[in-house]
Every structure is written in C-alpha cells, then in structure tokens.
C-alpha cells in the first residue's frame, strides 16, 4: 500500500490497548513494590520499571519501533547524552 510506504506502519488498535494494559500493570507493580518493600526495592524498581514504561511509550505509542534507523539512532543519541550528563554530574556530586 502506498500510504504505508510513505507514512510508515499503522499500529493496530489491539496492540495499542495491549501496551496500555501493560503500562497500567507496571504502574501497579511499581506502586506496590515502592510502598510495601520500600527500603530494599524502591530504588531498583524506580530504575528498572520506570525506563521500561517510558520505553513502551516510545516504541509503541510514539511508534519508534517502525521508524527508520536514522531516527532511532537520533533518539538513542539524545537519551545517551542525557544519561551520560546525569551520570557524570551525579558521580561528581556523590563523591565530593
């Protein structure tokens, strides 16, 4: 289909609803873990579940999954820059 060739893949309704349910489930897990097992698991949960949720939104809702490698690379570069900047500054502050 020409439209698909020019404008990319159309995400089916079913996939969108599945991703939404998964996001709600992950939110429930995050809230549960952070409140019940706060001392041990709150930070690990924050650092794993939260980026996973963001990734789901990026890949499916923002259809990054079906974008060209160029755009994927740009997004990766921007996020990597952010992580490196935060990581380096944070390590400086933490060991002062």
């Amino acid at each position: 289909m020409e439209d698909t060739a020019v404008h990319g893949h159309i995400t089916p309704y079913r996939s969108l609803v599945k991703v939404w349910l998964l996001l709600l489930f992950l939110t429930a897990v995050l809230v549960f873990v952070s409140t019940v097992y706060h001392d041990v698991l709150a930070v690990p949960a924050l650092l794993t579940i939260t980026p996973l949720k963001a990734g789901l939104v990026f890949f499916y809702f923002m259809h990054l999954k079906s974008e060209k490698p160029f755009l994927k690379g740009l997004v990766f570069l921007a996020l990597a820059f952010l992580v490196v900047s935060i990581g380096l500054t944070f390590s400086d502050i933490a060991y002062r």
Binding site: L82, S85, F90
Partner: protein, 206 residues
Amino acid sequence: MSTVPLHAHPVHKDYEGAKLGTWLFLFTELLLFGGLFLLYSAYRAKYPLEFRTGGEHLNMFIGVANTVILLTSSLTVAISLTAIRKGNRKLTMLCLGSTIALALLFLANKYIEWTGEIRRGIYPNGPALLKLPDGEKIFYGLYYSMTGLHGLHVIAGVIALSFVLDFVRRGKITGADFTKLENVGLYWHLVDVIWIFLLPLLYLAA
C-alpha cells in the same frame, strides 16, 4: 518545452521533515526536564531523609490516579492516529475529545492537590514551609517546579489538541494528511513519559 511549471503543485509537504523537527523539539524538552531530574538526584543524595519525609506528605492517591489518567490519554491519542489513518473520522474526534477531557481531569486533580498543599502552608515563603529543614524545603521547591513545569506542558497540550480536533472536524486533517495529529500526538506522549518519571520521584519517594 513543457507548459507545466516545475512548481505546479502549490503546497509542499514534507512528512519526514515535520516528524524529524518534532522529535528534535522533544529532545530539547528531554534536556529541560533532564536538568531538573539531575537536580533532584543530587539533592536526594544529600538529603535522603528529608526527601523521604517530603514524599510522605504528598497525596500518593492523586499521583497514581493522575498516572492512570495520563496513560489512558496517551492511549486515546494513539488510537486517534490509527483511526484517522483508517479513515474513521468519528472515532478520531471521539478519542481526541476524550484526550482533552482526561487532560482537564488531570489538571483538576493537580488543582485539588496544590490547593491542599497551599492550605497546609506549603508554598514559597509559606509559614509551614519556612519551619521545615533545608532538605524538605528543597524537596517542595523541586516538587512545585517539576509538577508546575509539567502542568504548563499539559495546558499547552490541551490547546494543541483542541486545534487538532478542530482541524479534523473541518476536514483539514485526513487519512492522507495527518502530520499535525501525529506530531501533536508525539508531544502528548512525551508529556506522559515525563509524568511516568515524576510519579516515583515525588509521590513514591516516601
């Protein structure tokens, strides 16, 4: 010589360029909020107990409810894009309308939450805030800055989505030309992503 001029097609549309431009704008947004996230992490490392106490006093129920609201609004905007591309104008408008309604609901919750905090005396130079230790003052400062800046983005999103809804109604956004809807959708999803990070940082910090 051909009688048709080279620029016979009067409207130039660059679908890929528009999308790339939107993403570049979103990168600047990531760095804007990224700076605040960095500030948050640095001060949380310095004042772990104060941040914990601060988080305890926030309304976790509203925070979680607003997460569900924004996740759902992301779903409706994503559905509206699929719907317009499948030629279902009615579903597109219904979903965009729902997204705007959910965004307004989010803001109403934010209003209830903020007025609650303000009534407790927690606002810049507020009597209760001034009595708190430095770490908690910083926590609330970051709380107001981050949720406030995010709230401004929600308001901007409501305005942009309202224009998009009107464009769809007037037939200016169609299954063949949906760039505006797609790009406003991308922006809205990013507003959602930022909130995904704010929930554990502020409301689940206790």
